[in-house]
């Protein structure tokens, strides 16, 4: 959020401020570890995420809100892993003997849930100053917002939360078959060819349905869909890149607030749409 995904944070903070909410960053935080450890006996890899929950507890908060969907999944799954089992919680607290005990009372939310359930799409629509009429937006959910069921913020096979957001901004949500597929995630490190194939399939499907832009909630999905397109452009003659932005950047565009960096091709598309509206 402070480096390669800083546009996510910039736009997210700006959008929430525009809606009248202040997102307060934890004074101290550590990396959640990116992935949730899936073995039954592993407490060591819960230390990172649970320490973040302790940080929230220390600041008197019973909630953490995340922008990154991988952080959301890892923090939430960790909180459920330790809350469900007193022995685990006791062992973890005993191990982290220089920390206060984690009491198991911090809930984890993703920003999209807050927008849908607490703020409401009506309020989002009211705040909008630049309706995105005519823009076709393909939602890319990726994995960690929807799977497994214990943390899903929407239906894992037919989610609508991003389509609802897109419609609230008067843009057109694009329905295409790869919206909930995995981008390949960390395989990009040592199996880059897999992610090239995934990206091609996902974006070709979105493009066939007329998408002008794809929105995502995960910095890893963003990298895989965005940066890998450079390789597609080298491999495929006349390949046309589709701009990839964070969902907070789409909101920021509609609100007229700081979007962070936006691809030039998207700026050009928006300008063309404005010109058409002006003529109409």
């Amino acid at each position: 959020m402070k480096d390669t995904a800083k546009d996510f944070e910039i736009s997210g903070m700006a959008v929430m401020e525009a809606l009248g909410y202040e997102l307060v960053e934890l004074e101290r935080w550590n990396c959640c570890g990116t992935v949730f450890s899936l073995t039954e006996d592993d407490l060591m890899h819960q230390v990172g995420p649970v320490r973040d929950l302790i940080r929230a507890q220390e600041e008197g908060s019973d909630e953490i809100i995340t922008l990154c969907s991988m952080c959301y999944a890892t923090l939430k799954r960790s909180s459920l892993f330790v809350n469900g089992d007193q022995e685990r919680l006791d062992k973890l607290n005993a191990f982290m003997n220089k920390e206060v005990d984690y009491e198991g009372k911090v809930s984890v939310y993703h920003l999209l849930e807050i927008l849908r359930d607490r703020i409401g799409w009506e309020k989002v629509e009211e705040r909008m100053t630049n309706p995105l009429t005519g823009l076709s937006v393909a939602p890319f959910y990726g994995c960690t917002l929807l799977r497994p069921a214990e943390i899903a913020i929407d239906d894992p096979d037919s989610p609508t939360i991003l389509a609802e957001m897109i419609s609230a901004l008067w843009a057109t949500p694009v329905d295409y078959p790869f919206a909930v597929e995995c981008c390949g995630a960390y395989q990009v490190v040592d199996h880059r060819d897999i992610v090239i194939e995934r990206t091609h399939r996902i974006l070709a499907a979105a493009g066939r349905e007329g998408a002008d832009v794809v929105v995502t909630a995960c910095p890893l999905c963003h990298y895989n869909l965005n940066d890998i397109q450079r390789e597609l452009a080298r491999l495929i003659p006349d390949y046309e890149k589709i701009p990839i932005i964070y969902f907070t950047q789409l909101l920021a565009l509609a609100f007229g607030v700081d979007t962070g960096r936006i691809p030039a091709s998207l700026k050009a598309k928006l300008k063309r749409l404005q010109t058409v509206k002006g003529e109409g």
């Binding site: 073995t39 994995c143 497994p148 960390y186 490190v189 199996h191 890893l220």
Partner: protein
């Protein structure tokens, strides 16, 4: 392309010094899953986004575990798995195949048989890859 494999999958399995009975017992212990819950409907393989790169389909891996067959542990499937959880949400028996894959990886990784190394990445790759990708990959493929 894997970065650290200098031995064959069969040689790597031999380094574990475990019988397949012991392996399957460990897989069930680490994953909390009963491999015999699977009745081979294939929903997992039908939904898995990375099957094309796998030596064995996810359901074939589970079947091999049921049969205590070494192919479960020598196939590349567990290393191609991206833990996307599509298999688990679709399994009609509620088998958490993602946890089974993780258990199989951990059996190797806890014996320091890593499947990615920092030496195997060029400076250019380290510069261009986002931190989230490197950390996630190393969490999944190193012990």
């Amino acid at each position: 392309m894997t970065k650290t494999k200098r031995v064959s999958a069969e040689e790597e399995l031999a380094l574990l010094e475990l019988s397949m009975d012991e392996v399957v017992e460990k897989v069930e212990e680490l994953s909390g899953q009963n491999v015999f819950d699977c009745y081979q409907c294939g929903m997992c393989s039908a939904g898995c986004p990375l099957v094309e790169e796998m030596d064995l389909l996810p359901n074939q891996v589970l079947h091999a575990l049921q049969m205590k067959d070494e192919s479960a542990m020598t196939a590349n499937s567990m290393w191609i798995c991206a833990s996307c959880y599509t298999c688990e949400v679709r399994c009609p028996k509620g088998v958490d195949l993602a946890k089974v894959m993780e258990a199989m990886r951990q059996i190797y990784l806890r014996k320091r048989l890593d499947h990615v190394s920092i030496d195997g990445l060029s400076h250019r790759e380290i510069r261009r890859l986002p931190q989230i990708a490197i950390v996630a990959s190393f969490r999944k493929k190193t012990g």
